[in-house]
């Protein structure tokens, strides 16, 4: 039974916490940490976690926990991971590891001495049943050698304006959205990104322009083993959250999530033959978040489980840094 201290109980933090408390087996949430009063009240009243902290170091020092679950600001991830490991805790941290390679390297390097502890970053798509099935098919050779990954993260337009002020610190759409697609591309292609070209613009939400960020953008990238990837990101979808990936292999092609239908219901009415779509990433990856949390807990409990490593997360950040430069300069950037 892993005792977990959860850190950060914002919108996504609450989802993680509810999974850990209600649906994941083999763990207990025994402590919670947040600088937001309402979040600690939620921990007590809704989750029944009475051991709460406003200071992370305080929690590490005093709480009865085996693991920390970090759902905090990206800028805090690196130091909080290391502090957790140093305090002899297993660590789950939301993506991204960091938005610069130096911080990633520092964490990876320092974490090496704690390799008896689990340390993982939440690149959640790897735990989605459809992506897992695609990986199984690829590994089984069903599509021959993968030679091109096309992957996109597309968000509902309604959320765009809300994102504008966060762009300064989030790393922009590349770190925030494509980091998942970069990780998937590596996972399927098994190689390092070596060259990137990226273009796009602010077509609806001019607020992103001040950050040289985009509301729609594409990137085309080369990998060391001669394979390629194309990425698309959009903040302006009208129909819903639309994450999809296509893997072109020498013997077949896989598409994952081509229609982001919310349920198995089809409606036939004056608008034609239609399906309502998932509205946000959590609706799309609800099951993946649960499987991911269960996998982390299982790993803490000593089971052999495939998790995203700190290296995986560092690699995704490396790609994001390179593509960010490509997008911001409009040039062809090489590794």
């Amino acid at each position: 039974m892993v005792k977990i201290g959860i850190v950060g109980l914002g919108r996504l933090g609450k989802r993680h916490a509810e999974n850990l408390v209600y649906r994941v087996s083999g763990c207990q949430v025994t402590a919670a940490c947040s600088i937001v009063e309402e979040e600690l009240a939620y921990a007590k009243d809704v989750l029944g976690v009475s051991d709460t902290y406003t200071d992370y170091a305080d929690m590490l020092a005093n709480a009865d926990i085996d693991a920390v679950f970090l759902v905090t600001s990206t800028s805090l991830h690196a130091e909080q991971i290391l502090a957790g490991l140093a305090a002899d805790k297993h660590v789950f941290c939301e993506k991204p590891l960091a938005i610069n390679v130096e911080d990633c390297e520092k964490v990876v390097s320092a974490a090496a001495q704690y390799n008896h502890k689990i340390a993982t970053i939440g690149l959640v798509r790897r735990f989605d049943p459809s992506y897992m099935e695609a990986k199984r098919l690829v590994d089984a050779g069903k599509i021959g050698q993968p030679i091109l990954v096309r992957s996109q993260t597309v968000d509902l337009d309604d959320f765009a304006e809300f994102q504008v002020p966060f762009t300064a610190t989030s790393g922009g759409f590349v770190h925030d959205m494509w980091v998942h697609d970069f990780d998937l591309a590596r996972w399927f292609l098994g190689s390092d990104m070596t060259e990137a070209y990226s273009i796009g613009g602010c077509y609806r939400h001019k607020g992103f322009e001040q950050y040289n960020d985009a509301d729609n953008a594409s990137a085309l990238c080369k990998y060391a083993n001669g394979t390629n990837a194309y990425f698309f990101a959009s903040r302006t979808a009208q129909h819903g959250h639309d994450t999809r990936t296509e893997i072109v292999g020498t013997e077949g092609i896989l598409k994952i999530g081509e229609i982001p239908n919310a349920t198995r219901v089809e409606i036939f009415d004056r608008a034609g033959a239609r399906q309502e779509c998932v509205q946000d990433f959590f609706a799309r990856f609800e099951e993946a978040f649960l499987i991911e949390a269960q996998a982390f807990v299982d790993a803490c409990n000593g089971k052999e489980v495939a998790l995203c490593t700190l290296e995986d997360a560092m690699n995704a950040t490396k790609d994001a840094v390179m593509v960010t430069e490509a997008y911001k300069t409009g040039t062809l950037v090489k590794a």
Copy 2:
């Protein structure tokens, strides 16, 4: 080069005529017959057919034609077919052959002496590329033995009120809509309908009630070889014309036309992920009408072509008569 006299140039007649004039090879439309002045003007002005008649017998006697193409009222079909054959013409006639079995039998019996002439009824679905492909798959044994056909004819609600006054003479939804589905069921199951049960009602268009007709109805039927069929008809669809058929076999299942998409375009907007649908049977079976007309002309020109026989049409009417009785009485009717 088959010289054709077209008879009846209403909405469907015009479509047939334009196919024959512009898109079917091996024929010429050399005469037209109609009791409607506007239709003959259309024949002259649009089709360039100057040899026009208001009397069918007159056309048979005097026009330079090898074949007649009958797109007239159902009540005229039987006698017009026989008159055409008696005048030594090939005959294409729109479905149904007749709405009572006696007339069908009379035609089939009388036609036997003209078997050097082509005589066919336009059960158009047999010429739809998707239905033809399904038939090919079934005949090739791809789904084993067919054991159940589920087939429906569903029309857009907008056309329903217009149909009400025709119900008295058309034979109602069974003869008008299901005759196609009955023909398909026999085609795929290879057996005679022996028992029928049918229920439904007038849920939106009360005008059909006076004829004991329906705007939505189902039938479940048994066939002599132990197989079954389920039929559905609706006049109240909001999304379009929705003809579809499912063939359950012992080794697999085929669905034909599950989504009646108008084109290969998918739209992603506030209504979700959607496809616009075909709005009427002509849009759905446009290609089939052309293939059917070409097949008739090819047959007239001496090619070996599979056509619907008068017997096929008689059988479809037999089924329609039986199911009409089942619907009108609410009882289980046996052949």
Copy 3:
């Protein structure tokens, strides 16, 4: 925190038990009962439930439990439900309530005095997110008035032979498979079945013939409010478990589960454009089983939750009895 004694740990019992132990919040499995030694070993070793029983009455008398979860043979359901209620326990029981109406009525009548206790039957499809969404759309008037339900339960051929010996006691395909569809039809149509006609046969698995049971069958049924339902059951699908339902309304149509895709992966290879399908009902309704169990526990904990009542289950059995007679006699049966 509801303390639950689970009864029956066969294939489905294990699934329920694992949900209750690992994924449902607000409950503990504190006791287990089975006459199968292996199942009690599983309870101890896998679930960590040490308080085990071979006798249900013994468990009711001695275990520290608030509720029983019955996953036993159909023939035991009625008496076990009543014994549980009499022992002041909440009761969840797998469907069907019974395969005769008398037993259902006895339970419903006797249960009336225990209405401070939760008593529910696991008609699991009502808890499937897609069926719930369809119900929400129907209740919101999105398709006008429902006038026809078409619903099917179709199982993979591989499981058919295994089912043969159980047919004598299970009530056959009607009670085993259609009871779900009957419940759905009532749920959507809001009325009582009044007339039924049912046909089919044993097309691949002759072993069912001795029980006058079918491997493929259809039923067409009338409801008191003038609406209709068509049902199909098959034990011979090659592609997977294929439960689907269509609701025809006066203003629109809903389809639920038209393609039983296992994941969101599409494969493009020599077999065309394809999706792999769920192989059994548990794969299709995995999420529904979890939601259902959570709903039961929530209700036990005093929350307002919609559950299937004993009356719902009795009504489904009434329909099943009527349709069984229709199938076995080949006649039109009226309520």
Copy 4:
């Protein structure tokens, strides 16, 4: 009635000829020209065209024709178009106009003096009903402002090896396949390509390497109005010919041809839920070829019809030249 001389009766030429002879109205094929004896025999025996030529100039001088229909080698297009116009004939020519910009400009410039004659290049996708419907939706503002086109031409692997020897003269995959996608991108985006990056490789068919050509490749391109396009070409598909296009707009997204299903038949068997796919571009664009030919004939007959202009074709070639350079050099190429 337009009298047409067809030039070139290879595989595609035969398809065009059969359309013109059997299915297009308002024209007659009165002459045929080919240097291949078998093709002229086909013209006589199958098409019934007795006025045949082995020399194009001879046909222009002596045949009774109003128009020429050129289905010849790309390298002949420019001069044959100009010779046709100079002989006072309308000209239809298969794509591409030429594989270098100079030849295109020469034709466009010289053709200016014959603007009383129709001169068009067969960029056939513009006549596909689905692409036409997409264009209608875009022009009607249904997806707001188009900001990204993603378009691909993907051919069945079986045809790849056959293509290898033609690569030296065809201009390779860019001119042969992407010229269509480039034309579509311009059509939808309404702007000039200004920057291109393209990568790929020979993953299955090493024979293309000697020409620095690819069997799979991607390009990412910028347009003058700030919009973007991504292109993909593949010669290695296992499932069929898979041409599809996606148009991302500020208010919605369109996909055209996402699943290249051959018919409306779906098969459910051991391979899952599947659709067989069109095997070559002609099967996919059969209807478009017919509509295109009819449009040309209608234009010759004086009707107002939208056709692809020589400028459209020149623009597509300009893009192809630029992207070819990008692919062959691996650099970012600017207009």
